[in-house]
Symmetry: C2
Subunit: 376 residues, 2 copies
Amino acid sequence: MFEILDRDPHSAARRGRLRTAHGPVETPAFMPVGSHGSVKGLDPRDLEEVGAGMILGNAYHLYLRPGVEVIREAGGLHRFMHWEGALLTDSGGFQVHSLAALCKVREEGVEFRSHIDGSRHFLTPERMIEVQEVLGADIIMTLDDCPGLPASRERIGAAVRRTIDWARRCLEAKKRPDQALFAIVQGGLEPDLREECVAALVAMPFPGFAIGGLSVGESREGTRETAASVAASLPDLAPRYLMGVGKPGELVEMAAAGIDMFDCVLPTRNGRNGTLFTSEGTLNIKRSEFRHDERPIEEGCPCHACSHFSRAYLRHLYQSRELLGLRLNSIHNLMYYLRLMEGIRISLKTNRFREFREVFHRSGLREARAGLSESG
Amino acid sequence: MFEILDRDPHSAARRGRLRTAHGPVETPAFMPVGSHGSVKGLDPRDLEEVGAGMILGNAYHLYLRPGVEVIREAGGLHRFMHWEGALLTDSGGFQVHSLAALCKVREEGVEFRSHIDGSRHFLTPERMIEVQEVLGADIIMTLDDCPGLPASRERIGAAVRRTIDWARRCLEAKKRPDQALFAIVQGGLEPDLREECVAALVAMPFPGFAIGGLSVGESREGTRETAASVAASLPDLAPRYLMGVGKPGELVEMAAAGIDMFDCVLPTRNGRNGTLFTSEGTLNIKRSEFRHDERPIEEGCPCHACSHFSRAYLRHLYQSRELLGLRLNSIHNLMYYLRLMEGIRISLKTNRFREFREVFHRSGLREARAGLSESG
């Protein structure tokens, strides 16, 4: 299902293509997050317009609400949310730990109380595969044990062994042939535990691997170093997905480390907070300097917000708490992320990733993309 | 600027066309409300898709935020909000009374404190024309004195005389030749005061008249009777605009009374509350009966929400407080209102308004519209 098309001679970066039942996904790819069955603020048409190939749903959230039966009756999550592109569901290992109350991890599975209504639930690896088979995403994830950081070495070691055991059980439970099941690597910031986890998981027939347990409280340097070393130890020919990371500059660096897939709530969450990504850095639309600013968020950005609306209008919408502002800001930020990924892919295809990466860090996305269209 | 195309032989209803610098508006027309420069939840493309011809802005709100200078620099409200259709701005006489603090009405104008930041303001009829000339809507409104009901006869009488005086001053202050200035009739539920107001206003060269001071606390019957009798006393050939009314059945009755233009926040406000208009009455999307309901809000409705999403999904979005739900619900409700108005116009054109009105009240919009396509 995964094909590597180009490789950067100066880094571990590669350009690839993931084939799914809902179309090909070009990598490195950024997946907008629609945990509850909607990418916050956008509708499927907006997602198509910003160029999203694959988006994310979350099995934990959707299991709790609206519940599996509702989505089964709708014919799966694609139909429920009217999304015709590729879809990946996370199992919810991270959400159980970060959102649920009274979470107890046992060998058999995880017991917790719903963060919505306090109801008791017991989820096993087998059950989470069943849930994700009903949701019907193109890529599904193993249930992992994902402790927040900092955590003791003992706790992380136990999480690694449980994550490996649960991954095996997920693989055995899986029935649908049209979904790809990716395994999640745990191990905190402990190199040997990460290695142990990778060694056990790559011995099983998973078509792809995710790096989990990062962006959960550790330093950004810790995230980067661990992600890069885990990426290097994963099979070259399988897609690598770094979960929950990150800022634009981090995506570029992690692509250089050989990561193929990313997801993060940052572009939509920041959009709702009025923080907008541009080639000159982030811009806070609340600021009074934009009151009379007739320019778009970013000159040359082809998004719906930049094509039709000024900073002055977007500031007004933000100040007036108008819903339209939340949507337009989110559309712009996703467009920024997806154009960044496109820039990375084009630079890999034309053997200019090293230059793209340098110019991006020095001068931002516009300059980096401009460099791609100059004759070589 | 206004042309009457068809008349119903059984009521005062008429079909017409308002010519504006931003295209013709077919009447009877419903205008979605975008007080702050955005129809809540929708963007201009959504408005085009639901078939909005003319929308509403509010000079009081926009004067306070973002301020007149911001919109002047943008080149007017059309450009600021990227709306290419027709636009009407209300003067804010109603908002000053209902929203502002410490509102004091004097002969010269109205003094108040902003409901946003407590700042002091003094608005005169001349100033509100100046503001509306900067906003640049196709139709602008006189500043009226609009007391809430119930109010004493003395207070209403004083409001009528002030409204007349201010209307004259607005007319004298008006400079832009490309905007039509409509006068607002006040007078509460007092027939003789309404008559006095109409008599004075129709003696001045206004191209259109609005019925104000209703839907401000009185009974629905009071609204209806007063609106109908004022409509009957207004010049036949000028457009008549009933401000702030109302429910779908009221629009049909008021069209029968000869009203040409309506505005109301109900479709968008109800949409955000999860109350949806259908031919079977209103439907509350929160209710658990919709949890597994795979049908659209209304079968046969061509709106974006009904074309792509189920009641089950919309209920899930509502329960999960997803922004997309607020937008889809508002789109559906506006489409319902605009298709109702279209039905009224088609029935007037084909001389079937009496039948349309009867069937609408008995069996709802779908049946009433179905009747229009049967051969006569």
